[in-house]
């Protein structure tokens, strides 16, 4: 019987040809995919390396923000101290600081990017040489002014170099006595309680100093009023009553995040004894009672009242009004108000020169700066 089905012995090339074509196409596709994967991995690796460096750099800035403000100059040389760490998803950074002695420090930050399994994908280690550059304040008088002054009402101004009583162990012996007041506009107006300048003590008591210009009173060596204000950690405005040291409730360390924390000048055992902030004070503010130390920069008029006790440097761009009782400044007062305006210090109160207070406030208040001539480095 004749079979109507396909012939079993028929020949053809379609199947082998199709298989060959498919194989070639698969090989080509595979090669393309492999190239694409290599490119993708290379791009991923480049991106991860960039992310690791950026993460390490962010660590620099965060570490600067979390600086152990009260203790950084007491770190023993050569010993790295952890200064912070952070994580953003799969990006981590670990930061440290090493005191090299004197004003020089090394800040290091290691940034790392992890893959999905938690393994390291990229790592970047950076270093930054830093230096403390304190401002240099003119200390030729307890009060230096370029505008008119009115003194009276039980106010006393002393150009003798005072060592604050609680600071006896950290201050050098007092230096020479300078003028109580140096004013470029001429003698102050003396009212009741300071008749004839009787409330001034100094050598001389009063100096008419034509060099007490706005430039002298706003340029402080490597810093000026504007750059110092930009470095301020405390920002005060309006009525500031009873500024006092504040501690972090968890760590027990001095807490610079509290705006009215101006350090602790009276208790050497307090963590805030070494905290000397730069405080920027808005125009028209009034600080009453309380205490503080550091550098106080007033953008405009400022009133100090009712026993506010401050150790350090006060620079006032507008008019200063100082009323008692018991309001006291130990350090230096620089008054930049217009020559046609009058600053009134009518007590009862006291302004006393203290080079130790000036030096400690200047040296501890400013943030570290990168070393000039090459700071940033791969580590």
């Amino acid at each position: 019987m004749r079979s109507r089905g396909p012939h079993l012995d028929s020949r053809g090339v379609a199947l082998p040809l199709t298989l060959i074509v498919l194989t070639v196409l698969m090989l080509l596709t595979g090669m393309g995919l492999m190239l694409a994967r290599l490119e993708s991995r290379s791009a991923d690796q480049s991106l991860a390396a960039l992310q690791a460096t950026a993460t390490a750099e962010s660590g620099f800035e965060l570490a600067a923000g979390r600086w152990p403000v009260e203790a950084w100059d007491t770190l023993p040389p050569g010993v790295p101290v952890a200064s912070g760490a952070g994580a953003y998803g799969r990006q981590l950074h670990v930061d440290s600081i090493t005191h090299l002695g004197g004003p020089v420090y090394l800040q290091t930050a290691v940034g790392e990017v992890l893959d999905a399994g938690g393994g390291p994908l990229a790592r970047s280690s950076l270093g930054r040489w830093m230096r403390a550059e304190p401002p240099r304040f003119p200390d030729r008088a307890a009060i230096m002014a370029r505008g008119l002054l009115e003194l009276g009402g039980g106010m006393s101004v002393d150009g003798g170099d005072h060592v604050p009583v609680p600071w006896g162990t950290v201050c050098p012996p007092p230096g020479s006595t300078v003028a109580a007041v140096a004013d470029s506009t001429g003698p102050p107006v003396f009212s009741s309680g300071c008749a004839g300048g009787s409330c001034l003590t100094g050598s001389p008591a009063l100096e008419v100093d034509s060099t007490a210009s706005d430039s002298l009173l706003s340029s402080f060596g490597p810093w000026d009023f504007t750059t110092l204000r930009a470095a301020a950690s405390q920002h005060l405005a309006g009525l500031i009553a009873d500024p006092a040291p504040a501690l972090d409730s968890v760590s027990g360390r001095c807490d610079p995040a509290v705006p009215a924390n101006l350090g602790e000048p009276l208790d050497p055992s307090s963590p805030c004894f070494r905290f000397f902030p730069i405080a920027s004070v808005a125009p028209g503010s009034r600080i009453e009672r309380g205490r503080g130390q550091g550098v106080l920069l007033a953008d405009g008029d400022l009133e100090l009242a009712d026993g506010f006790d401050f150790y350090g440097v006060i620079v006032v761009a507008g008019r200063l009004t100082m009323v008692g009782p018991g309001t006291r400044i130990t350090g230096l007062v620089l008054l930049r108000h217009s020559p046609s305006d009058t600053a009134r210090l009518t007590g009862p109160g006291e302004v006393a020169l203290s080079r130790c207070a000036i030096t400690r406030a200047a040296g501890r208040s400013v943030p570290l700066r990168p070393l000039p001539g090459g700071s940033w480095s791969r580590f």
Binding site: R2, V13, L17, V21, V24, L25, L28, M31, G32, L35, E39, S42, S46, P77, G78, T98, L100, G101, G102, P103, V104, L106, S125, G127, W129, R131, P370, L371, P372, G373, G374, S375, W376, S377, R378, F379
Partner: protein
């Protein structure tokens, strides 16, 4: 019973049709293969070109990122659109001791891809001895045995300014930078342009780093704080580099037209050691 004769082979018409179909299929396959080969070649050339560009920008950025433009200690020694001569950082570290003839390093240099080489490298030490003497430099003339007490520490023989050392305001530890003077430039060799580099301090001749580039394949621009083109090192606040590269081989595009792939990349160099 009458048996039919079994047929073998194809008829002429069948053979013709099979031949025609085979030719058609093979032609199609050939065209696909050629197209695939061109695509693969194009992709390979593009990948080569982009790798070249990426490597060139990474190399220049890495080399120049750490240069200081501070007038007291400039690393950027000379520059034009097609050439930059600079002090390239070859490691950093901390010194535990200084003398006019030696610097003792704590551990080995960090961020270094090789050991310090006498005759090639120099060092900078931060001593803070006043204007013009903040960093003082000296050549590395020898690498000696441990000196800081650690097994991986290192003594570098050098010649330092003894007056500046005596006036040092820092210590007991000192920042150290190791560097060599390098030059990168666009140069021509055997009819092609290349990104070349050489160690000036080691007296090397220029060597190709990457390429080939176009004849205007390297353009380096440094800008001052106002964004204007800087002409002096201490004015420099930012830098940018443009690389114009071309492929090593021609590729066949659509229609079989052969062409040379070209690509350009422009990147800003993040200079980290400029004055604010």
């Amino acid at each position: 019973m009458r048996l039919r004769r079994r047929r073998h082979g194809f008829t002429l018409v069948e053979s013709m049709v099979a031949l025609l179909l085979t030719v058609l299929v093979l032609t199609l396959v050939y065209r696909v293969l050629v197209a695939q080969q061109r695509t693969a070649s194009l992709q390979a050339q593009q990948a080569f070109l982009q790798t070249n560009l990426r490597s060139a920008t990474a190399f220049i950025s890495t080399e120049l990122r750490e240069v200081s433009t501070d007038s007291s200690n400039p690393d950027l020694l000379a520059f034009s659109a097609e050439s930059v001569t600079y002090r390239a950082t070859r490691g950093s570290g901390i010194a535990c001791g200084l003398s006019p003839t030696s610097v003792d390093l704590v551990g080995s240099p960090r961020g270094a891809f090789r050991r310090p080489q006498p005759g090639r490298d120099s060092l900078l030490v931060y001593v803070g001895a006043g204007p013009g003497h903040e960093w003082i430099s000296g050549p590395v003339i020898g690498v000696g045995s441990p000196s800081c007490g650690g097994s991986s520490s290192m003594r570098l023989s050098t010649i330092l300014d003894s007056v500046a050392l005596a006036a040092a305001s820092t210590g007991p530890l000192y920042p150290i930078r190791l560097f060599e003077i390098m030059q990168i430039k666009l140069y021509q060799s055997q009819g092609n342009h290349w990104l070349g580099a050489r160690s000036v301090s080691a007296g090397e001749v220029i060597q190709p780093v990457l390429g080939p580039l176009d004849s205007n394949g390297l353009a380096v621009t440094f800008r001052d704080s106002a964004g204007a083109i800087a002409t002096r090192s201490f004015e420099v606040r930012s830098g940018e580099v443009v690389i114009r590269a071309r492929a090593a081989q021609t590729v066949h595009g659509p229609g079989g037209v052969s062409r040379l792939l070209r690509d350009t990349v422009s990147v800003v160099i993040p200079l980290r050691n400029t004055r604010p």
